[in-house]
């Protein structure tokens, strides 16, 4: 008895201590938040600037996406060999988060607290990056060119430090939806989307055009690689066009699953999962693992996709040539895919902003350079960056994969907004690498 009473007393005392430790509500915002020091130049020295990123080098999103940072690193090496930006070499730290949000928080805190990075550039993934946006904005760390098309990055009031990069999923969905409505009129359409912002935001765009044609909506979770049930459901619903809003691994899995059940719909794939070279590699790889051999060219032929960066197959494009030269010099062993190109353009765009921020570098100046609207370069559609918008590329073109896995443009670049505005063809001028001349002193 004595023992239990003392146990109660102590438990009471400890509970009291905990009460004191957390007397204000855990979900209430602090009354006096520490103001971030935006004029900080953490991570900057006279001759270097440290930046970091979180990438899925392992895990479900790694096939394909693990090459983005390889491309980015090649561009940084090229810039550093040419003397850096404003005399500063770029020290690029890549942390693997395995597409696991818990790990993302951990590695981003590591980058900010231990590596003392100046900015986070191109953090990859919606489920992952959404967990660190608040942290980075509270700490006042620029969070640039997020590798995801979620709408969440474009919120200048709440997240002044965060900027998007790729065309957002709603804009892309609108362009896809309009294209399907005009070119596959009257055909039954099925959606196959990732169960997160990718799916939700894209459907906001698709639904503006396709509600009448849609017969089935299926979703997948990146942890479950068996997509046969969903594809069977789409087949059963009679969908003739399948809009696949999938990461590369899941585009490949859906194509294989469809082939397995003898289902031949017209696939329309969004830019995140429509890179022909990455897809053919994955198709071969997955098929080999299940003991089959497939002709990826045959499976991919006719697939329709959207994009906003120049395709690596367009060797006459001055930017493709420029990046191919960097590729051949720094990462010749790595196949040059659109995914590698994605990382290269991202690194190039960041370096442009870094240059525009001037020689007396602070975090605020970098953010100002981003919003200045002066960033023009490799992309085929313009960035939406301004004081009121932090959205990345504002439009896309539509392409189709040829039987030899090269691509042809079906519909030239068009731009639109993230609400219900019209889709208009884009014919703005595009600067060449020589005109941008990034490494000029």
């Amino acid at each position: 008895m004595r023992k239990s009473r003392s146990a109660q007393l102590i438990a009471g005392a400890l509970a009291g201590a905990l009460v004191l430790a957390g007397c204000s509500g855990a979900g209430e915002t602090s009354t006096n938040p520490a103001a971030p020091a935006a004029d900080s130049s953490t991570g900057v020295t006279k001759d270097s600037v440290v930046i970091g990123t979180h990438q899925p080098l392992t895990g479900p999103a790694a096939p394909g996406y693990s090459k983005i940072s390889v491309g980015a690193r090649a561009v940084y090496s090229y810039i550093n060999d040419a003397g850096g930006i404003n005399g500063r070499k770029i020290d690029y730290k890549v942390e693997d988060d395995g597409y696991n949000p818990t790990k993302t928080v951990e590695v981003v805190k590591k980058l900010v607290l231990q590596e003392k990075v100046f900015a986070i550039v191109g953090g990859l993934g919606t489920p992952t990056h959404s967990k660190v946006v608040d942290y980075l904005n509270t700490e006042g760390v620029p969070d640039l060119l997020v590798s995801s098309g979620a709408l969440a990055w474009d919120d200048p009031k709440k997240s002044p430090m965060t900027f998007g990069y790729q065309v957002d999923y709603t804009r892309e969905g609108k362009i896809q939806g309009k294209y399907i409505k005009e070119n596959f009129a009257g055909k039954k359409v099925g959606y196959f989307t990732q169960n997160d912002d990718v799916g939700r935001d894209t459907q906001k765009g698709l639904d503006q055009f396709l509600t009448e044609q849609t017969v089935s909506k299926q979703g997948y979770d990146s942890a479950n690689t068996d997509v046969t049930p969903q594809l069977s459901a789409l087949k059963a619903a009679g969908a003739e066009v399948v809009v696949c809003e999938c990461v590369p691994a899941f585009t490949a899995l859906s194509i294989l699953a469809a082939a397995k059940i003898g289902y031949k719909p017209q696939f329309v794939v969004s830019s995140i999962g429509a890179d022909p070279t990455t897809l053919s590699g994955l198709l071969q790889d997955f098929a080999k693992r299940s003991g089959a051999s497939v002709s990826s060219a045959q499976l991919l032929s006719g697939l329709v996709g959207t994009g906003y960066l120049p395709d690596v197959g367009l060797i006459d494009d001055p930017w493709v040539k420029f990046f191919k030269d960097i590729h051949d010099k720094y990462i010749p062993a790595e196949p040059l895919t659109n995914t590698v190109m994605y990382g290269m353009v991202q690194a190039y765009t960041f370096s442009q902003a870094l240059k525009a921020a001037g020689p007396d570098l602070t975090r605020q100046k970098l953010v100002d350079a981003m919003t200045s609207g002066s960033l023009k370069g490799p992309g085929l559609t313009p960035f939406g960056f301004s004081k009121d918008s932090h959205s990345g590329y504002t439009g896309a073109y539509v392409f189709q994969i040829n039987p030899d896995t090269t691509t042809k443009i079906l519909q030239p670049p068009a731009v639109t907004d993230r609400a219900t505005g019209a889709i208009t063809p884009y014919s703005g001028e595009r600067l060449t690498p020589e005109q941008v001349n990034l490494t000029a002193k």
Binding site: L18, A21, S24, G25, G27, T29, V105, E106, L113
Partner: protein, 359 residues
């Protein structure tokens, strides 16, 4: 076999104990003193290390309570669970939902409710598990780890789908904002909670309940003959263990401000069990070594891979490979885990001292 000899060692001093016990302090006080000492040590360490090391210490903290809970279940009660990540999942989502929907609740209440929620789940799982043994039990708990996170897909609006939930936990008292860095404060809160839970756990293990756990583990028939209700004891062990798991999940959510299904994979459940085995079955100290190993082996092997400039394919698999090799090595050299090894070394030293004294 070896387990039984350990038990008799445990039992002997307590039967011959009353004389000695009167002089020594009651176990609760001893445990509390250890906890206060531990907290003081943690606070001291956080003061001399950088914020990121603080974060890692806090990570060790929440893994410690999860591993300790699992050690109680597996080491003391002989039940295996391949699904403890599921209880962390429940704890994390409870805290997340409370922070988002009931922002006025203080953190301690959120954590208590997280522990209660996972305790209820643990009792339910335990009721099923008490009827199962060996591979069947392993399979059933594994199903829990695989199935539960899928709930987020079922209720995407409420649980956030694959994206999970993110939120900001405000825990620093207003007076300390700007005085104590947030990461340091979080580390203190995590360790305070963990140590309180460990004191309760240690007391439970020392007391009548702990003895019945061990009796059931060693021989169910004789335990039943001694008047112990087998089913109830097993369910209780599962419940306590689940509470620990839930608390760990709640602390993780508090620390990282996120709860997402991608964090509670089967791999997490398996690595918790590996940590229990590595640290030493059936010991809270073992849980500490296991938790430290879980956090630091990975960090070290990643740094190591960085230093060697290994290709990404090698570098990415190195942490797992290193962990595996260390696990095999420890089990070969110290079959009772790191804590078992420490005890054996201590026993050897004691014996050599004694023999020196005799000669």
């Amino acid at each position: 076999m070896s387990v039984r000899t350990q038990i008799s060692d445990d039992v002997l001093p307590s039967t011959a104990g009353p004389v000695r016990r009167k002089r020594s302090l009651p176990p609760l006080i001893v445990h509390l003193l250890w906890a206060v000492l531990g907290l003081a040590l943690v606070i001291l360490l956080t003061l001399v290390t950088d914020p990121f090391t603080n974060l890692r210490m806090a990570t060790v903290g929440y893994y410690l309570i999860a591993v300790a809970g699992l050690a109680l279940l597996t080491g003391f009660n002989g039940q295996i669970s391949l699904g403890h990540g599921a209880f962390m999942f429940i704890g994390a989502y409870t805290v997340a939902l409370l922070v988002i929907h009931v922002p006025t609740f203080p953190l301690w209440l959120d954590l208590v409710l997280a522990a209660v929620a996972s305790g209820v789940a643990g009792a339910l799982a335990g009721a099923a598990a008490a009827r199962l043994k060996g591979p069947y039990l392993a399979g059933a708990t594994l199903a829990l780890a695989v199935g539960l996170p899928a709930l987020t897909q079922r209720f995407p609006d409420f649980l956030g789908g694959s994206n999970g939930l993110n939120f900001t936990v405000n825990s620093t008292p207003d007076g300390l904002v700007g005085v104590v860095p947030p990461t340091r404060w979080q580390t203190w809160v995590v360790w305070l909670t963990v140590l309180i839970a460990l004191v309760l756990l240690a007391n439970l293990i020392r007391g009548r309940i702990g003895r019945s756990f061990r009796a059931v583990r060693d021989d169910e028939v004789s335990a039943a003959l001694a008047g112990i209700h087998i089913g109830r004891t097993k369910i209780l062990a599962f419940l306590v263990s689940a509470v620990c798991g839930g608390l760990a999940g709640g602390l993780q959510a508090f620390l990282l401000g996120t709860a997402a299904p991608g964090s509670f994979t089967v791999a997490l459940s398996l690595s918790l069990l590996a940590a229990v085995v590595l640290g030493g079955l059936g010991s809270i100290w073992g849980a500490l070594w296991g938790a430290i190993a879980l956090v630091y082996f990975q960090a070290w092997s990643e740094d190591f891979a960085d230093v060697l400039h290994l290709s990404t394919n090698v570098a990415n698999n190195l942490p797992l490979a290193v962990y595996g090799v260390i696990l095999i090595f420890v089990i070969l050299v110290f079959p009772h885990g790191i804590q078992g090894g420490i005890q054996r070394l201590r026993a050897l030293r004691g014996r050599s001292k004694r023999s020196e004294g005799e000669s």
